[in-house]
Symmetry: D2
Subunit: 416 residues, 4 copies
C-alpha cells in the first residue's frame, strides 16, 4: 500500500513521518512518496522521513520526486498539504485586508479567499493526475486550506476526496486532559463548516458531559478558544477560529502591532531548516510544535486507517451536507464528526442554535460563491464572494479588497 | 364594517384618512375609530380625519377614544401604527449604537432591537384585547416596526395578523414611472425579510422586464436604492434599507455629522401639528410626504380590501415562511409578494442567490432570537440576539450594546 | 484664618477634613466653612467634617451654608471643588464623544471641553463674589477640572488663583516607594499642561535619579502610567492621562464595553453616602480611596500652607507660562513644579523633547480656544476649539461633536 | 551659466524645458545638463529637452549624463527632482499606513516619513558632490519631497539650499482667475510648513482682498482645497494638503476603494513615455498636466532668476525659521512668501491663529525628529518621529507603522 504526500517538501512532513512510522504496520504501508516541485527541499526532508520511519522500525520504502505523475502512481491515498506561493503569499494574504480594516487571515475573510483562488486550480490539476495515475478507488485526503472550499471543489469535480482539520483532535486532547481521561475515551460532536465549528457534545462512555465540563472548567475553555465565556454560555463551544468573527475588530487592532502569523512561521521554518540539515536527526524537532498543525499527523494517520479499513471510527471530516444541516444546500461541504466505514455518515447531532445557524448559513453562501470564483475566475465573482462574506459584507470593502486581492495575487491567478 | 386604528393620534393618520375616504364605498366602511392614549392628539386628528373623509363624500362614522377596548369593539380590521416611547425613544435608538461604532437605525441593528423589545410586549397586550373585543375573525394589520418581528410575535401567540410594509409599493410606483406604465400594470416579485428584501422580477403583462429595466435605467435604480450598481449587478434589486448592510460604515460616518432621522422627523411633526390646528383643513398637507411612509395609505387600504373581499390581488406582506424559503425555518416570518384570497400564498418565485440567502438566513436567526428576547426578557437573550445580528456579530460590541440598550431603554422594558 | 470650600457638599470633603484636622495648628485655621447649593448634602457632610477635625484635636469652627457670599466672607483661602451638573453631566460627557469614535473623558477631548464650557462661567461668577467678600489678598485654589483651563479663565479675569492637581503628588509617593525613601525626600521636576505632564527629573538630595529609577523599575513605571515602556524610553515619564493620547483608540475600544468612570463613581458615591449617614463616623471611609483624587487633601493642605506662609516649598501648580516654555504664549497656563514663596516660580527645568513640545503646543492652542469658547460662547468657537484638539482635529468629527456637545449640554450653556 | 537637473530623466523634465526655453535669455542660461542614473531615460528625455529649447529659440547647450560629478561640474544652480525607489516605492508608501488605519500619502504621515528616510541620505550624498564640483556659491534648489525635511537636512549640513513648492503658485493662478486679474498682480502671504500652509493674505496693489474674495467665492475656494468652508471660516485658507489632516478618516475611507495616486501616476507616466518616443515631439504633451506639479516649471525658473539676479521678487520658499514663527525653533524650516534678493527674507506677516499654530508646532516637532531619524537611522528614532506626528500619535500605531515602514522600505534604508 502506497501513500503519496503532495507538498511533501514542507517542514510539516517530519510530523507525518512520525505518524507513518508508528502506524506503518497497522496501516500496511509499503511505500511513502513525497512529491514537491522543490527538489532541494525533498533532498533534505526525504532522508529525514526515512530516518524517522526507520527509527520506528518501519521497513516501508521512502521515496521523493518532483514528478507528480510518478509520485502518485499507484497510490492508495494521496495526502494534499501544499501551499501555493509559499509563506510570502501567506504574508501578503495576512496584510492586504488590513488596508481595508478587515482581518488578515489565511483561511477566512479576504485572505482566505485569496488562498482559495490560487490553491483550488492547482489542487484540481493535481486531482486530475491522481484520477489518472493513482490506484483505482484511491482517496484524496485534503489538509490544504481553506479545507472546506478545497474539498468542495474536489467533490464538485467528482473526486473521491475527504477534508481533514486538526481542530477537533485538539479539542479532544484538551477536554480529555480537563476530564482526567485518555483521549481515546472522549468522543466529540463537532459540527459546522471548516474553521467555523462548534463542539456540541463531549461523550464519555456515551454520556454527554459537556454541561458539567463547562461548569467546572469554564475559564480553561475560554483560554483555549481565546474568547470570553459569554460567547459559549449557550453551551456550544466555538473553535479558536471563531475569534476572527466574535473578536474581529480586536484582532485587527492586534494585527496592526503584532508581526503576522506568516512572518512568525517563516522565522520558525528557517530555524527548522537549520535543524533539518543535521543528517543524524531522526525525530521531529520540538520546535515543530510551534509551527501550527498540532496532532495533524495523528489525525491524518487515524483517518487513513479508517478510510482503508472501513473500521467505522469517528473522525471530524469535511464532506457533503446532504441534508444534515437542513438550512444548507445538499451540495455544501460541512465539517462534522462522522463514522468512517463503508460510507462516511455524521455521528454528531445537528444541534446548532439560531446564532450558529445564521453564521454558518452566511459563510456557506460565501464558500459557494468563493469556489465558483476560484473555478471560473473573474473580478465580478471575487466581488460577489467577498460581499457575501460576513466579515466583509459592504460594497466599499468588497470593491477595495477585490482590487487588492487581484493586484497582490495576480501571479497565481490564471485568469487575472 | 368598522376599522380601528391603534396609534390613531399619529400625524400619519391624515394619510390614512385620504385612503379611507377615497375607498369607503369599495371597502364598505361604516365606521372608523382612532385609538390613542394621547387624548389631546385625538382631539385634533379626529376631526381632521372626519373632514378629510367628508371631502371624499364618505358618510362613514368617525370616532376617537383613548379606551382601547371600546375602540376595537366590533372592528373587522385593526390597524397597528403605534410608536412606544415616541420620537424621543427613536432618537435614543439612533444614537446609542454609534457609541460602539454601529449604525443607529430604528428598524435594524441594535436600534431596531431596542424598538422591538419595547414594542412587542405592548402590541401583544393590545392583541389580547382585540381577540376579546373585536369582531370574530378580525384581522390585525401591523404597520408598526420592526414589522417582521412584530408580526412574528403576533403569529406566535395565535393572532390573525399580517404585516405590511410600503417598500414594495414604492418600487412599483418608481418602476412604473421608468417603464412609462400605470402602477396597476406592474406586478413585482418582492422577496426576503421585512426591510431586507429584493425585487427579483418586474412583471408587465406576465413577462419579467427587470433585466431590460436594469439595462436601461441602471443609474436611476442606483439612485433610488442609494447603493452603487455593483450591488445589484446580479439582477436582484435590494431595497433602500440594504444600505445599512452594504454601506454600513459609510452610514456610520454620515450619522456622525448629520442630524439623526428622528431629530428631523420630530421637527417635521412639530410643523405638521401647527398645520393641523387649522380647523378648516380637509386634506393631508404636502409636508406629510417628507414624514416617511409614502403610499402607506394606498398599500393599507388595498390590503384591507383584499383581506375583506378575498379578491386574490397581489400585495407584499409579512407572513409565515412555511417552506417558501427552504433555508429558513417554517415559523420564520418573511416578506413576500402574495395573493391575498381565501388564503394568502406567495406569488413570487423564491429566486434569491447565495449572497442574498446568506444574509437573509443570518438576519432571520437574529429575528428569532430578538422576538424571544422581547417576549421573555433578560440581558442574556438581548446579548444573544445582538451577537447573532450581522451588523454586530462581535462579543465586545454585543456586550457594550446590550448594556447601553438596557440603560437607555429601561423605562419601557418590563423586565429590566 | 478662615478657609472656604466651595462644592463642600462633595463626598471628597471628608478627605479634606482629615488634612485640615491634622494641620489645623500648623496652618492656623480658625474656621472652615463648606459652601454648596445642596443643603441636604451639607447637613450630612458638615457634621462629619466637624467630627473628623475634632478627632484630630482641632478646635477650629466648622460651618456650612448654601449662601456663597456668607460662606466666602472673610476667607483667606477659597478652595474650588465643584462639579456643575453632577455625575450625570459627567456620564454624558463620557458618552457622547464615543458616538464619533472619540474618547469620552471628563478632562480632555470633547468631554473635557463640555465640562470647561459649563464650569468656567460658574467659576467666574463665584470668583466675582470671592473678590467682593473674601479677605483682601485671598487665594483661590482651583481643584475643579479641567484645572488648566479653569485657572486660565480665573487669571484672565485678574483673580489671585492657582490651580492644583494630584498627579504629581501621586508620582512622588510612588517613586519614593520604589526608591525606598520617604516621600518628603523626593522632589520632582513635573512639566507640561494640566493632565498633559511629564516627570523629567526625580531629585534625591539634589541629584537626578530618574535614569537609574527607570533602569531598575521600568515595568513598575509602565504599570503606574498604564502605557508601554516605549512611550517613555526617551527618559521622560508621562502622566497616566497621556494614555488618552498615546493609547486613544484602545481606550475607545475599552469604553465601548466597560461601564464609564462616571457610572462607577456614581455607584461609589451612593455607597459613601450610605456610610456618611452614620453619625458616629469620625474618619474618612476606606472606600473613598476608590473615588479618585488620592492625596488630594495632602496636596491641597501643603499648598495652602505655602501660600499662607510663603515658605518656598515645591508644589506642582498651574500658573502663567511667562516664558518658561518658550514655544508657548506667555499667557498660557502651564502645570509645573514651582517654589511657592513670596512669588511662585518654576523650580523644574523646561526639558521636554520635540515629541512632548509638539503635543503640548497643540493642546495649549486648544485650551486657548476652549477658554474663549467658554467665556464668549457660540457654536463656531466650540467648533474651532475642537478642530484644534489633537484628539479631534478633523472637520467631520468637530462638526458632529459640536452638535452633540451643545445638544447634551444645553441646560448648562448660558449662550445655547 | 550652467544649470544641472538631478533626476533629469523624470517625465517632469519636459515641463522644465519649456520654462528654460522661454527664459533662457533672461536667465542667461548657457548650458543645461540632465543627470540621472537611468541612462535609457536620458537617451529619450535629453533630445526632447533639446528640441523643446530649440523651439523656443534657445541656443543653450543641452547635455545628459549618468555621471553626477560631471553633471554638476561648474553648475550655478542644481535642481533636485529625484524619486528614490521610483513609483513602486511610492505605491508602497501609500499602502502600508492603511494597514494601521492611517492615511497613505507620499509627503506626510508614515508614508512621507518613509520617503524622507530613503531620500535624505541620497540627497546629502549628492549635495556633497555639488559642494565639491559645482561653481562656487552654487544654489541647490530642492523640489524633492518632503521638501521641508529635505531642505532642513541640506541646511543642517551647511549647504546653500532653498526648497520650492508649487502650492503657492497654484493658489496665485486660481485667485487671480477668481479676481479677474493677471497672476503677476496677485501677491500672496503664504505661511506654514511645506504642505502645511495657509494663505493669510491676498494682496492686490498692496491691499489685502482675501476677506472679500472669501465672501464672494467661498464655494470655489472650498472646491479648490477640497475641504468644507467651516475649515477656513476663520479667514485663513489651508492648502489642499490639509485635507489629510482635517479630513483624515474620510481620506482613509476613500483610499480603501480608490486606486492610489502612485498607481495613477504610474499609468500616466507609461503613456507619457509612449508619447516621448516620438522624436519629432518638441513640446510638453497636454497629458503632463495630469501628472501633478502644475506650474512647477514657472515657479522654478522664476525662483532661479531671483536667486541669480537677486531681484527681490516674492516667492514661496522653504528656509530657516530664525524667529519668524516665534513658537518654532530657529532651526526649523518653514515655508513662507519671501523676498529673494541679496538675502531671503519673509514678506508675509506671521498671522496664523491658535488652531494653525498648534498644528504647525506639532508637525514641526515631527519633522525635527524625522530628519534626525533619516540622518542617524535606527528603529527607535523612526518610532519617536511617528509618535510625534499628529496623524499617528499613538503607541500601537507608531509601533505597527515603524515595523511596516522598515519591512517595506529596507532596500533603501542604509541602516536597516
Amino acid at each position: 500500500m502506497k501513500i503519496a504526500v503532495v507538498g511533501g517538501g514542507s517542514t510539516y512532513t517530519s510530523e507525518l513521518a512520525e505518524g507513518f512510522g508508528a502506524n506503518a504496520a497497522a496501516l500496511g504501508i509499503d511505500e511513502v512518496v513525497l512529491v514537491d516541485p522543490a527538489a532541494d527541499k525533498l533532498a533534505v526532508i526525504g532522508p529525514l522521513v526515512q530516518r524517522i520511519m526507520r527509527r520506528h522500525g518501519s521497513r516501508a520504502r521512502v521515496g521523493w520526486t518532483p514528478n507528480l505523475d510518478r509520485g502518485v502512481d499507484g497510490a492508495a491515498v494521496v495526502l494534499l498539504q501544499l501551499r501555493v506561493g509559499g509563506q510570502s503569499a501567506r504574508i501578503r494574504d495576512e496584510a492586504f485586508p488590513l488596508e481595508c480594516g478587515c482581518v488578515g487571515q489565511e483561511t477566512t475573510g479576504a485572505g482566505g479567499l485569496a488562498k482559495a483562488l490560487r490553491t483550488i486550480p492547482v489542487v484540481l490539476r493535481i486531482a486530475e493526475r491522481v484520477r489518472r495515475f493513482a490506484a483505482p478507488g484511491a482517496w484524496i485526503v485534503d489538509f490544504t486550506n481553506p479545507v472546506g472550499m478545497v474539498t468542495r471543489a474536489l467533490l464538485d469535480e467528482g473526486h473521491r476526496a475527504v477534508g481533514l482539520c486538526n481542530v477537533a483532535i485538539g479539542f479532544q486532547r484538551r477536554f480529555a486532559g480537563l476530564l482526567g481521561r485518555a483521549p481515546a475515551d472522549v468522543v466529540l460532536d463537532h459540527v459546522g463548516l471548516n474553521h467555523l465549528t462548534w463542539e456540541t457534545a463531549v461523550r464519555l462512555d456515551g454520556r454527554d458531559v459537556l454541561p458539567e465540563l463547562l461548569k467546572e472548567h469554564r475559564q480553561a475553555v475560554a483560554d483555549e478558544v481565546d474568547l470570553p465565556e459569554a460567547v459559549f454560555a449557550d453551551g456550544l463551544v466555538p473553535s479558536y477560529y471563531l475569534r476572527y468573527f466574535y473578536g474581529h475588530d480586536a484582532e485587527v487592532e492586534r494585527l496592526r502591532t503584532a508581526p503576522s502569523r506568516g512572518e512568525e512561521v517563516a522565522r520558525i521554518e528557517a530555524e527548522l531548516w537549520d535543524l533539518y540539515q543535521d543528517d543524524t536527526l531522526d525525530r521531529k524537532p520540538e520546535l515543530l510544535s510551534r509551527r501550527g498543525g498540532a496532532y495533524y499527523s495523528e489525525a491524518a494517520v487515524a483517518l487513513m486507517r479508517s478510510l482503508l479499513t472501513e473500521d467505522g471510527a469517528v473522525h471530524a471530516v469535511n464532506l457533503r451536507n446532504r441534508g444534515f444541516l437542513p438550512y444548507l444546500p445538499d451540495e455544501a461541504v460541512i465539517e462534522v464528526s462522522a463514522r468512517v466505514g463503508a460510507a462516511i455518515t455524521p455521528s454528531a447531532r445537528a444541534t446548532l442554535g439560531p446564532r450558529q445557524r445564521g453564521l454558518v448559513s452566511a459563510v456557506a453562501a460565501y464558500e459557494e460563491l468563493g469556489v465558483e470564483a476560484a473555478v471560473r475566475g473573474g473580478e465580478r465573482r471575487v466581488y460577489e464572494a467577498l460581499l457575501a462574506h460576513p466579515l466583509v459584507g459592504q460594497h466599499d470593502l468588497a470593491e477595495g479588497l477585490t482590487r487588492r486581492l487581484i493586484a497582490t495575487g495576480r501571479d497565481h491567478l490564471p485568469w487575472a
